[in-house]
Amino acid sequence: MIPIDYYLWLSAALFTIGVLGVLFRRNAIIIFMCIELMLNAVNLIMVAFSTYLNDASGQVFVFFIMAVAAAEVAVGLAILIMMYRNTQTTDINVLNRLKW
């Protein structure tokens, strides 16, 4: 059986790559995808812990996280479409009115 710290390293790496993407790119859609990546890193470690501790609550939480992620993506992409319709771009530097 795989030791659980392997899963810890893997999901730490995936989470860091997600953070890197959010900081690295300017396209709002890519930033969205990197947020999904971070959510999945957390889901993975939750499933690993729930399996290793023999507790089903972790997997139920992952199920709810998936539902929330689906809702978030639907609303977020609708906001992106609205933003594109008004500014003709998905560059986040154009949307700097909420910055300060």
Binding site: M33, N40, T51, A74, A78, I79
Partner: protein, 172 residues
């Protein structure tokens, strides 16, 4: 055997996650993210969480990524010339995430290793459904309300305010 499979799936997941960040075209980013999601589903199968593996493939690879791909093609973003940050900001982003990695490694290093006693079958549909419909019945129903609200919100936001803008225009 299981360990080799774990290494292979981890390599695929991390490699394609890096390609999501560094590929030029958003369409390629979406495709690499689908590969990442499939390898994470493989990890769920290794962990004997079959219900979540199937739900993950259906929800993420089947619904969310198709939505992403659809939006990218609707906005016509599949150009190579998309905005990029300056090199200084890219360097700062790499430094920041490297520091975060160091913090995570430092906090997780030396933790007590958890050993699994017996192969658990809590990830099967039968057990998970029993838990979901007894202990977590109210959150389950509230999640359906959340999905309904998200659907209404998405339709509201995606609809244009201008009259006649919602008609289908065919560009000649």
């Amino acid at each position: 055997m299981t360990l080799n499979l774990f290494y292979f799936l981890s390599f695929v997941a991390i490699f394609s996650a890096l390609l999501v960040v560094f590929s030029k075209s958003p369409v390629y980013s979406v495709l690499y993210l689908i590969i990442t999601f499939f390898s994470i589903a493989g990890h769920y199968v290794i962990l004997n969480a079959q219900f979540l593996a199937v739900v993950h493939v259906i929800v993420y690879a089947g619904a969310i990524m198709v939505l992403f791909l659809y939006v990218i093609m609707l906005l016509n973003l599949n150009k190579e010339s998309e905005p990029h940050k300056s090199n200084l900001l890219k360097f700062a982003a790499a430094i920041c995430s490297g520091l975060l990695m160091i913090v995570l490694v430092g906090s997780l290093k030396g933790t007590e290793v958890l050993v699994q006693q017996a192969p658990s079958d809590i990830g099967l549909v039968k057990n998970l459904g029993k838990v979901l419909f007894t202990d977590f019945l109210l959150p389950f129903e509230i999640a359906s309300i959340l999905l309904l609200a998200a659907m209404v919100g998405a339709v509201m936001l995606g609809k244009s305010d201008k009259p006649g803008d919602n008609k289908i225009h065919v560009k000649q």
